[in-house]
Symmetry: C2
Subunit: 285 residues, 2 copies
């Protein structure tokens, strides 16, 4: 039985009571429109935690002007049903007013990690993410939080944030779940027209081409980048926002791959923006 | 017996163990150079908490360039002795490297409240305060934190921060402790030469003149400000940084006093900078 909690006070009280019992709490932070990627996070949380909270909050402060905040999908009934199916203990759905009450004026900023890639394309996005995650951890008091690798830069930033502010939450990053044709699951995939949907896997294919290039001995970031870009350019419906070869820890561009590389990509299909990534290791791990 | 803890991990582990026992933890955040003002905070903490932590950390990020970080007094033995005298349970003295390890890049910003008065005179100061207080609360996990009214803007900002980030710490603001001539106790008073020390109470006198003006029926902020400034100007050794009549909640300037007013002042005596404040209530509370 999934309990739906909307009050921030009730949420914190629920958690503090469990803390006193020694119960380990896991949280899966989401903006709803849950799919099998979220499902895999919930299942992973169930494996290592005694109680699982799914938070559902479409956070306005991480959307830029002109982005899809107002049209972001909000299929709340289906989300609640998925949580029940997966044995989630609490579905936490605070209102916008409860999260950002009148007079709210505090921002958490992670500097270097928020500057590049998604941060460069979406100014203010990561301030919104860092602030709402800090708040969520204050409200839910989880021991562990589960994030998907699909939003890799976000997961690195949250790890940094937790360490820098001593929030004491363990961050677990779970593998990206994909459609059979390789497209990474995303709540935004439902914006795609059937024609766009057929083109969408090209992003994953481009990242795989980058990996293949590395595994075949190409080491220069610029060359690997060209290999990825070449794949996207085969489809005129898809435009590149960025394709990057970077250090998996700092996310700084790698001029030359030595041990491992994180391949990051963002593309646009009409108004829809998709991101994906692939980690390549040369050290056999 | 006061336990000295320098390790951040040990600090958090100590607190979490007490949490499981239902022990209420109070923290008195300090930069050391403890005086009777800190002593009163510790005593207040002992009254309402089961365990009292005094943190001692001279936080570099809240000092501006050219400020007194390097010469800030660090009488650690005397500080430890005061903590023992007052029955403090833990004196938490983390190193700079433990608080800001390599790669640290996160800042907490409170916007409007940090803009005026001390914030305007000391750019970046309140970002440093907000960030280190957030970290301290993460490390110590207190139920209650005790701040002195002398740093009134800081206490308002910390209250806002705790609410905005859902940190779940109760903030108690304790009355300013003064010398017999009215000078507010401050670690920086020890910088004063004997001649400057004799002039220093003029700040408190100016604030009292502001209060007297209000209680005599003067309501315009500008007039009250002039009354305060007139007192400072009697002493050529003292220069005004700011003297303000403001709303006690928002700290915005009050053109006209209706219910209550916070009188804020900052002055300079040579290289020494002193601040003080006085709350005036017309509503009889």
């Amino acid at each position: 039985m999934t309990r739906v909690i909307r009050s921030v006070r009730t949420m914190t009280a629920w958690s503090l009571a469990l803390h006193r019992e020694g119960v380990v709490i896991g949280v899966v932070p989401t903006m709803g429109a849950l799919h099998d990627g979220h499902r895999s996070l919930i299942r992973r949380a169930r494996l290592s935690c005694d109680a699982v909270v799914v938070s559902l909050f479409v956070n306005p402060s991480q959307f830029g002007p002109g982005e899809d905040f107002s049209r972001y999908p909000r299929p709340t009934r289906a989300d609640a049903a998925l949580c029940r199916e997966e044995g989630v203990d609490v579905l936490f759905m605070p209102s916008r007013e409860a999260v950002y009450p009148q007079g709210f004026q505090t921002t958490v900023t992670v500097r270097e990690l928020a500057r590049r890639w998604e941060g460069a394309k979406r100014p203010g996005h990561f301030d919104g993410v860092a602030t709402v995650v800090t708040k969520l951890f204050g409200l839910v008091r989880p021991h562990v939080a589960f994030f998907g690798q699909k939003d890799f830069q976000q997961s690195v930033l949250v790890r940094r944030l937790v360490e820098d502010l001593n929030l004491g939450v363990r961050i677990v990053v779970c593998p990206t779940v994909r459609e059979r044709d390789g497209l990474a699951l995303s709540s935004r995939n439902r914006y795609l027209t059937p024609v766009q949907r057929r083109s969408a896997p090209v992003l994953h294919e481009a990242l795989q081409a980058g990996r293949t290039a590395i595994l075949r001995g190409i080491r220069f970031g610029s060359q690997i980048g060209r290999a990825m870009r070449g794949v996207i350019e085969t489809d005129p419906k898809v435009t590149v926002d960025y394709l990057a070869v970077c250090d998996p820890d700092t996310l700084e561009p790698l001029p030359r791959v030595t041990k491992s590389a994180m391949l990051l990509g963002a593309v646009r299909l009409g108004r829809v923006r998709l991101i994906d990534n692939l980690l390549v290791r040369l050290d056999g791990r």
